[in-house]
Amino acid sequence: MNVASANPSKPRVAVHKFSSCDGCQLAFLNLGEDLLTLADRVDLVHFAEAGPLDPDTEVDVAFVEGSVYTPEDRERIQHIRRHSRLLIAIGACAVSGGIQALRNSADGGDWVAQIYAHPEAIDSLEHSTPIAQHVKVDFELWGCPVSGPQMLVVVNSLLLGVTPYDNADKVCTECKRRNLTCIMVSRGVACMGPVTRAGCGALCPSLGRDCYGCYGPAAHANTDALAARFTHQGLAPQAIMRRFQSINSQAPVFLAAADKLRKRND
């Protein structure tokens, strides 16, 4: 993944948005004065919220926020893929369908009718799906939201011609590094840290509360063992299921864990 050598001048970068809350683009817009430094180092050719608009031009790197949720989205992601050397999916919506993918397991058509007086005018797909389900994705950055430092690591890696580091380890490792006492062991809090991907810096445990899995499943996540532990702690089966059915409900590991619990409850 070397952008630097391919383009001796400034790499051309695009930021695209699909169905989302806008929060992952803020990893750029909230950089403070570093945003101007970034604009010096790369050529931001398309980033609608920041101003530059040129969705059709060839770019070295396209960052994609959001999930595919309309028929138009399906076309647009193909177009972006064709015009981008590297495509990087950022955030839970782009990598797992996001919180709106909770609709995937429900009767979405009915939902439209319950909210809108003219359901026929609402043009959305029945399922919210991640970018990689539609096109080849070169790198996925998990998190809801991804953070500024995470984004800068990716951008700097690409500028230096290095493949970005993909930390799929568990939140628990971040607690250890921060010297945080385990809230699950010491206080019996039903924490998702043992199965959740690192990257946030163990923010929730640092406030003494449960991790709720917003970075998605870690590699080698033992969801069975965690579910058993939650049961042992006295959580009802429904409550355990909801732990996996939240921000990243369609991430395969969490989806499988929830399905298993559902079958056991039935």
Binding site: H16, K17, F18, S19, S20, C21, D22, G23, C24, Q25, L26, A27, L29, N30, L31, G32, E33, L35, L36, A39, A48, E49, A50, G51, P52, L53, Y69, T70, D73, R76, G98, I99, Q100, R103, A106, W111, Q114, I115, Y116, A117, H118, A121, I122, D123, S124, S128, C144, P145, S147, C200, L203, C204, L207, G208, R209, Y212, C214, R242, S246, I247
Partner: protein, 433 residues
């Protein structure tokens, strides 16, 4: 992406610098506006539906995801509603810190809007990066203020996008005194910067505009309303959040996935200018004096004053945060225990973009039976269309298409519409016959 239309068809690419996906259809027949529609086609994300069945403790983390720019507004409104239903009396510490936390979001969101989204228009620039070439100090100052807003949110929420600090009954944790002291120093140092921002914003040459509209905002007995208050309108209405449905209604228009709100069947304005119009007497004396000095008189009927109104509210939020952190002591506990009960929970706060109203029907176990959320942008939608009609007539329909488009974009950006979801394209179609 040319769209074929019956007569003259012009595809003008894109309103950038708004949060969400919208389009504007404009048809002019014989020099008269025949059709003007702000179309929002963000795919709906059905938050109200998938909240059903979830436990009250999960609501703050879920509703935050409605908007990455104003998650605190959603979290605080939900918490306020549920705490009222559950009969929870917040600790004075938690009550004050909720306001400080919210101030952080106002500072962040307003500064982002002024510098990255709105101001470039008034200097003939297409982005803040371009604006930074001609006004580097001002843009850098703005980005610093925005960063400070984020830092203030971090302090209570560990991060500024989808913060994790709020719980029903207070906060999960209280920041240590040493961190508060460091924050106070930063807030104090930012005050002159924010004052300079207000003076700068007041000097920006604005298009003249004078429209009659109804302002709606929260009003508090003593404070400038942010996280608490009753709903007030400029025609004298003053009601509690519970009575919202008696005066306000939502309807679905086929050209938009955001519902349209009306107040007694009329469009109305929410947001910073509406707040200043209604609550100018609640501003601290120092800010009143500064406004007098800059010649900004309230109430204002010029929506272009929205940018200046945001600058004023940044200064106010910095002062409020500093005031409330001044005698900070660690609470005995950052939260009080909560016992859920069945019933209807209603809450209302001032999101950066305006009034935000939540209603939850809860069951005995503390789970959501049904939810309704009315965000500021759907409330402003009708007003934006009305404003566009009037200001286009003012501007002159015979102006070239490009000038019309730019003017429309400027008008729309005044409202800082947060249409979060899908792309950010304003495809403007102009048809002339």
């Amino acid at each position: 992406m040319t769209e074929s239309l019956r007569s003259v068809s012009i595809h003008v690419p894109v309103l950038a610098r708004v949060e969400g996906e919208g389009a504007l259809d404009l048809r002019i027949d014989n020099g008269v506006i025949a059709e003007l529609r702000l179309r929002i086609f963000e795919p709906p994300r059905f938050f109200e539906k998938f909240l059903e069945g979830h436990h009250y403790s999960e609501i703050p983390d879920m509703v935050a995801r409605i908007c990455g720019i104003c998650p605190v507004a959603y979290q605080v409104t939900a918490a306020q509603a549920l705490e009222k239903l559950f009969g929870v009396e917040l600790d004075p510490w938690a009550r004050a810190m909720r306001r400080v936390f919210y101030c952080g979001e106002w500072i962040q969101s307003h500064s982002l809007h002024i510098h990255l989204l709105a101001a470039p228009d008034f200097f003939g620039c297409s982005s803040a990066i371009e604006l930074a070439r001609i006004a580097p100090e001002e843009v850098r100052r703005g980005l610093r203020i925005q960063a400070l807003g984020n830092e203030l949110m971090d302090l209570f929420g560990a991060r500024s996008v989808h913060p994790v600090g709020i719980r029903i009954g207070g906060f999960h944790a209280a920041p240590a005194l040493s961190r508060i002291q460091a924050m106070r120093d930063k807030l104090r140092a930012a005050l002159p910067e924010a004052e300079a921002l207000v003076r700068w914003a007041a000097r920006i040459q604005l298009p003249p505009d004078d429209q009659a509209f109804i302002s709606v905002a929260l009003r508090h007995p003593t404070d400038y309303a942010i996280e608490a208050g009753a709903i007030a309108a400029s025609d004298g209405l003053l009601i509690e959040a519970e009575s919202y449905d008696d005066h306000f209604a939502e309807r679905h228009e086929t050209h938009s996935t955001a519902l349209f709100s009306t107040y007694h069947q009329q469009p109305y304005l929410v947001g910073p200018l509406a707040r200043l119009n209604l609550n100018r007497d609640r501003l601290p004396e120092g800010i009143k004096a500064l406004l007098a000095e800059t010649g900004f008189t309230l109430p204002s009927r010029n929506i272009f004053h929205s940018l200046l109104a945001r600058a004023v509210e940044i200064l106010l939020a910095l002062q409020e945060a500093l005031r409330l952190l001044d005698h900070y002591t660690m609470p005995e506990s950052p939260w009080v225990p909560v016992i859920p009960r069945a019933g209807v929970a209603t809450g209302c706060t001032e999101a950066p973009r305006g009034l935000l109203w939540h209603r939850y029907e809860m069951d005995d176990d503390g789970r959501v039976v049904s939810a309704r959320i009315v965000p500021p942008t759907s409330q402003n939608q009708g007003r934006i269309e009305e404003d566009l009609r009037l200001s286009l007539l003012n501007f002159g329909l015979d102006q070239p298409d490009e000038a019309l488009r730019l003017h429309c974009e400027k008008v729309i950006r005044n409202y800082d519409p947060c249409i979060s979801c899908a792309t950010h394209f304003l495809r403007m179609r102009v048809e002339r016959t």
